[in-house]
Symmetry: D2
Subunit: 187 residues, 4 copies
Amino acid sequence: MNPPGRLTGYVTTQVIVLNGGSSSGKTGIARCLQAILPQPWISISVDDLVDALPPSLMGPSSGIAFGPQGEVAVGYGFREIEAAWMTGVAAMVRAGARIIVDDVFLGGAASQERVRAHLAGLDVLWTGVRCDPEIAVGREIARGDRVSGMAASQAEVVHKGVVYDIEVDTSHAESMDCARAIAASVV
Amino acid sequence: MNPPGRLTGYVTTQVIVLNGGSSSGKTGIARCLQAILPQPWISISVDDLVDALPPSLMGPSSGIAFGPQGEVAVGYGFREIEAAWMTGVAAMVRAGARIIVDDVFLGGAASQERVRAHLAGLDVLWTGVRCDPEIAVGREIARGDRVSGMAASQAEVVHKGVVYDIEVDTSHAESMDCARAIAASVV
Amino acid sequence: MNPPGRLTGYVTTQVIVLNGGSSSGKTGIARCLQAILPQPWISISVDDLVDALPPSLMGPSSGIAFGPQGEVAVGYGFREIEAAWMTGVAAMVRAGARIIVDDVFLGGAASQERVRAHLAGLDVLWTGVRCDPEIAVGREIARGDRVSGMAASQAEVVHKGVVYDIEVDTSHAESMDCARAIAASVV
Amino acid sequence: MNPPGRLTGYVTTQVIVLNGGSSSGKTGIARCLQAILPQPWISISVDDLVDALPPSLMGPSSGIAFGPQGEVAVGYGFREIEAAWMTGVAAMVRAGARIIVDDVFLGGAASQERVRAHLAGLDVLWTGVRCDPEIAVGREIARGDRVSGMAASQAEVVHKGVVYDIEVDTSHAESMDCARAIAASVV
């Protein structure tokens, strides 16, 4: 994130990237951010992209595949579509939309670099959403709509080498409290 | 849609716009298209945008509002976001994604002009999805998850003055059959 | 179903059993029946029971399991719970509720006998919901939320040896039209 | 709940009633209970009943109505159906099913008496699920799928005069931890 006002005297955050493992609480934080931020922010998730995929990209050959233990395998076909999707998200921002992007950096720092390249020139608030793995596993069971095991396998790896402007930990804090902390960094 | 091969000798459809009223069957056709088209197409709906909105844009002041009789009122705030969203969709296509856009041209020809401007230079297959209003009303009741009245109020008006490359009518045809007809026009 | 008025001079249908394969259109018909029948009917599906199961009954050992080709395997543990559930549904009816039960007779006539035993003494309208297998497969693709293959594997087998008061075929009829035909048999 | 073994030397809990306001965390606790209890428990919610209602019982005249501030109004028609439904739930238990019932005692002690009458003779674990109102309101915003205001208006009133075997408070405890505490009282 650029320092506020560096160039123009009037810089505002344009993108909030929320990165965290499955069941870490990203979506709840995004909804709270939408409720408390004074300007309209739209909320987009990499899960939306997965839902938009054709059957041919759901599976192990070249798309995205979810294994029985919660592991996620991503092939070349998915990477291509994901790159186009992120280009589109950046274009929405350049056209004036403020966007909260809810993502899972399965490749850690390498994932961040890919996203950073797409968002070049935009004012991004890089936000880490951490959650104690054991707690995330319990929440995965409580929500009941995710492949069991994703919370455990993603909790640590998605943060590996990633650089943040702000980090929140949902282990012992409510979504709304995390959202307030993040909102205070939106300039 | 440009004639195939006009300029390059190798032109392919890049965007399929499905326009039709609520409960006309657009989403089912989109899924069938994804299943039968040989290349990966991603499917995006204006409903996804509505789901992504903040609470401040859900309501009659400047966002999008759904009345008790199924009427939809759209304000300036929503129009701004929608324009940015469509810019992003176009950018995804220019970056290489093939996209099926499921839309509802509440303003008829004027809506088409707005979308056409965003998709300038892209090879678009404009597709009308018609459904007898009485049948759409029955399907709205059968699906049970839409505000009652949207099907009736939108069935005709969304096609007013809109120009299509192909039209399908789901009144007496299955989603898959409509998808096959559309797929035959994808070049 | 007993003939109307046979014993009491005032008999009314208490249960409508809709039996049909996956994606044959049972749920849509149930919603239309609820909308057009003059008295309040509540709508219950065996899918609701499946959603209510614990993880220990989701799987091949003793519960219910869904195979990759859409096959459904049912074990002893599930059968026990299902019997208790059907006992409860019958008790709701005896306590005065009118109920539409949306079921899938995987065992054909044997399934009907099990359900018939639970509903003994009640006035049941046995309703077959048929759909051409090829059409059901297309609708399964169009709805996009069912394990692929269930429609094809269930379309015929669920009707084997089952005796109905009325049958509808959704292949070329709307849910609402099927509901009207069924409603005319509710006495 | 009867003391274990009082009459038969072998008494086990048959019903776990979870009572709490909207967004207090009942459903998540129910899923965790299903995951950790050694025997199969099925999970049923009064929300399932609401989903099963016909349109004629959704509304202020005699059914159930949800006001713009999250208030819930319940009429005679809904009460009749609810009584039949609870009769059915009790019959399922008498037929051998173990059931977790997720309910909202809008009438406090009077609601408990109604439920107690239906479950007469069964071994019930009455469980209060409390949550600080301010926290519940934040979670209602974070989940994004409930009428805003229900959490606040129900948080206290549903516990008024209700007698419990065990109470949990989700304000500062995970669903899984609450489930473990409840499970320790299942005998």
